[in-house]
């Protein structure tokens, strides 16, 4: 089933996708002519598959639950923000704050992601096949940020319990973020994630980063680190 955003309003399209009639058995949808509109596929809550043919604006698939959304183009700020479950695939590049505060599900960006990718993430798995911008995984709480390219400055600043895996170079680490040993358990976990998401990568090629947990409780001796 197709929705042409040249012919239908965003509200009509989202309303249709948010209220799929289970009896009709239609599970696959295509959105044509997105033309950078914002909040396309925001608030989906059923296990449907949506393919967007073109570029989207801010908050594409925001707060997604269960749905699989594939964007054949680039996405604006906050793709899959606060996502709860499901899968979002971006065939192009993503602007800043991709996967921000996401609680669950998977976000796969086949190109690059801009700054603050995975900011405040809370359980989502984010795979970036290209590189990520500065301050990625800022205050990241839980989940995995996997970067196959490079990471710009201040990666993982003020990170909590999220895990970061980077194959390329890391320009610099942010406050309280350190490189951690990539032991067999971590290799197995990352390999499992790749397998689940059908990604062909060797987990052994990645370095792992996470919190040193020195700043979890305020100590005056650490004041210089903030």
């Amino acid at each position: 089933m197709n929705f042409d955003l040249n012919k239908k309003t965003l509200r009509e399209v989202n309303q249709n996708l948010q209220n799929v009639d289970r009896k009709k058995n239609t599970r696959k949808f295509e959105i044509l002519n997105p033309q950078g509109q914002h909040a396309i596929c925001a608030g989906l809550k059923d296990d449907i598959e949506v393919t967007i043919k073109g570029h989207t604006g801010y908050y594409c698939a925001g707060m997604n639950q269960k749905a699989t959304v594939t964007v054949h183009g680039n996405v604006g700020t906050g793709v899959a923000e606060n996502m709860m479950s499901g899968k979002i695939v971006v065939k192009g590049n993503a602007s800043q704050s991709a996967g921000a505060t996401g609680h669950g599900g998977a976000l796969i960006i086949e190109g690059d992601a801009s700054s603050r990718c995975g900011i405040s993430m809370k359980g989502i798995d984010i795979i970036v096949k290209g590189s990520v911008g500065h301050m990625s995984a800022f205050m990241a709480q839980k989940g995995n940020l996997v970067v196959m390219g490079d990471a710009d400055a201040d990666l993982g600043d003020s990170i909590y319990e999220a895990k970061i895996f980077v194959k390329g170079k890391v320009k610099s680490l942010g406050a309280d973020c350190i490189e951690k040993k990539m032991d067999q358990k971590n290799i197995d976990e990352l390999g499992k994630l790749f397998k689940k998401l059908n990604i062909s990568e060797d987990p052994k090629k990645f370095k792992r980063y996470g919190s040193s947990r020195n700043l979890y409780n305020f100590k005056i001796d650490n004041v210089g680190a903030y």
Partner: protein, 435 residues
């Protein structure tokens, strides 16, 4: 004090003690609640009342409407409150579950709303609240679309009067298993929330963010934007531009669960001056009464409510005062206040989690000191009192609807208040700064 001893005006004893404390400890003070310094406030205004040229209403006979509709600019389902006094956002985490439940119970009985906080929505709170406003904060702790849809309104929190420009803070002693779980954080850490939203940076972005929230909730929920009183004229203008249904303006007297004392006392402007600027902005945009204005920060009495409404607010919100109605700073369990180094009437130790009266705590033993049903009745009684006082003052000024109160009904007792509220100094027609 002995007659021959002269205290330093620049270095009074309290300042000397603070310098010496800082010299010993090397760290700023963190505390809860709001500013303790004296600032111009609603006490500096009086109502003129009716006389020869104004016709009063009978106090106990003629009706005086108190209901208000919030959020009818864009939302399909605006909220109709029976009274224009709402309960401000306070987090589960900062407050215990019993306190949140009590606020919900009292507010619901009075037909008004309560508000979540930094930490998400609890079942107790949703279950006990007839109207629940769900806050979207920078941290997004516990934020999920199911709760968003369960809410009656959504409040995008940009800032807070106690600390405009600062994020939330909840020290480790209050991060127990349940609070940590709701916030996806390790237990016992000092939680410092972000001060900026993670996925928008300015009013243009916020407009798009609001569009997303409306799309997710079928354009049903009123969207509030809450700002701390920093630059209220511009902030209100930008909130309207961003598509707010309601602007919530929190003055510097507003409380917090925990932040630096220097922040509480030295950042932001008093509610009195902030309110005037916000109303000016709405009137210049021809949006006054179309985008509703809720004001908070130091509202204590029905007189405060009436004065805020006379200056142009559509409703008020109470936080610290509601906590006090729950028993915050009550003369109970005095020994436990002493253990904190304080006394009833002076306590601001919300940050410690050792609240003697069981309001701002996660300690199960302390929390038992607050019965949510009895405390809910106190909230109801307090809200009833505020409403009766509000109606009394409105009738005395000849108003059959509390929203008909107007600046013309007011006079100022000080030059500062006259300048801030832009009403004449009592006994004169002089409004400082007005040509």
């Amino acid at each position: 004090m002995k007659k021959d001893l002269k205290e330093f005006k620049t270095f009074p004893n309290s300042t000397i003690k603070e310098i010496q404390r800082a010299a010993n400890e090397g760290i700023y003070q963190i505390r809860g609640l709001g500013a303790k310094r004296k600032v111009p406030d609603f006490d500096d205004l009086v109502f003129l009342g009716a006389s020869m040229s104004r016709y009063p209403l009978e106090g106990y006979r003629e009706t005086c409407n108190t209901s208000v509709v919030l959020g009818d600019r864009f939302a399909k389902k605006p909220i109709k409150l029976d009274i224009p006094i709402t309960i401000a956002g306070m987090s589960f985490g900062a407050l215990g579950a019993n306190a949140k439940e009590a606020l919900g119970r009292g507010a619901s009985e009075m037909g008004t709303s309560t508000t979540t906080g930094d930490g998400g929505m609890t079942q107790e709170e949703r279950g006990s609240s007839k109207y629940l406003v769900y806050q979207l904060l920078p941290s997004r702790y516990g934020m999920n679309p199911d709760d968003l849809r369960k809410a009656d309104a959504i409040e995008v929190v940009v800032g807070q009067g106690a600390k405009p420009g600062g994020g939330g803070m909840l020290l480790g002693q209050k991060i127990n298993k349940r609070v940590a779980g709701m916030r996806t954080l390790p237990e016992g850490i000092d939680q410092r929330s972000a001060c900026r939203h993670p996925d928008w940076t300015g009013p243009d972005d916020l407009e798009i963010k609001i569009q997303e929230l409306r799309e997710i909730t079928n354009w049903e929920k009123p969207i509030y934007i809450k700002v701390g009183a920093a630059r209220p004229y511009y902030d209100t203008t930008l909130a309207v531009k961003a598509g707010a249904d309601v602007v919530v303006l929190d003055g510097m007297q507003g409380g917090t669960a925990a932040t630096q004392d220097v922040f509480i006392e030295h950042v932001g402007i008093p509610t009195l001056g902030a309110l005037r600027e916000a109303v000016d902005a709405l009137k210049e945009l021809n949006m006054h009464r179309k985008v509703q204005l809720i004001v908070s920060g130091g509202i204590r009495t029905g007189a405060d409510v009436a004065k805020a409404m006379a200056m142009g607010a559509d409703a008020v919100s109470i936080g610290s005062a509601a906590m006090m109605a729950l028993n915050c700073n009550a003369d109970l369990y005095v020994e436990d206040y002493k253990k904190l180094g304080t006394e009833p009437g002076y306590c601001h130790h919300c940050h410690t989690g050792r609240c003697p009266v069981g309001v701002a705590t996660q300690d199960p033993k302390l929390e038992k000191r607050l019965n949510p049903i009895e405390a809910g009745k106190r909230i109801k009684n307090y809200l009833t009192t505020l409403t009766l006082e509000l109606q009394t003052l409105a009738r005395a000024n000849g108003k059959s609807d509390v929203r008909n109160l107007e600046p013309e009904d007011l006079a100022a007792l000080t030059v500062e208040a006259a300048a801030m509220a832009r009403v004449p100094l009592a006994g004169t027609d002089w409004v400082p700064g007005k040509k």
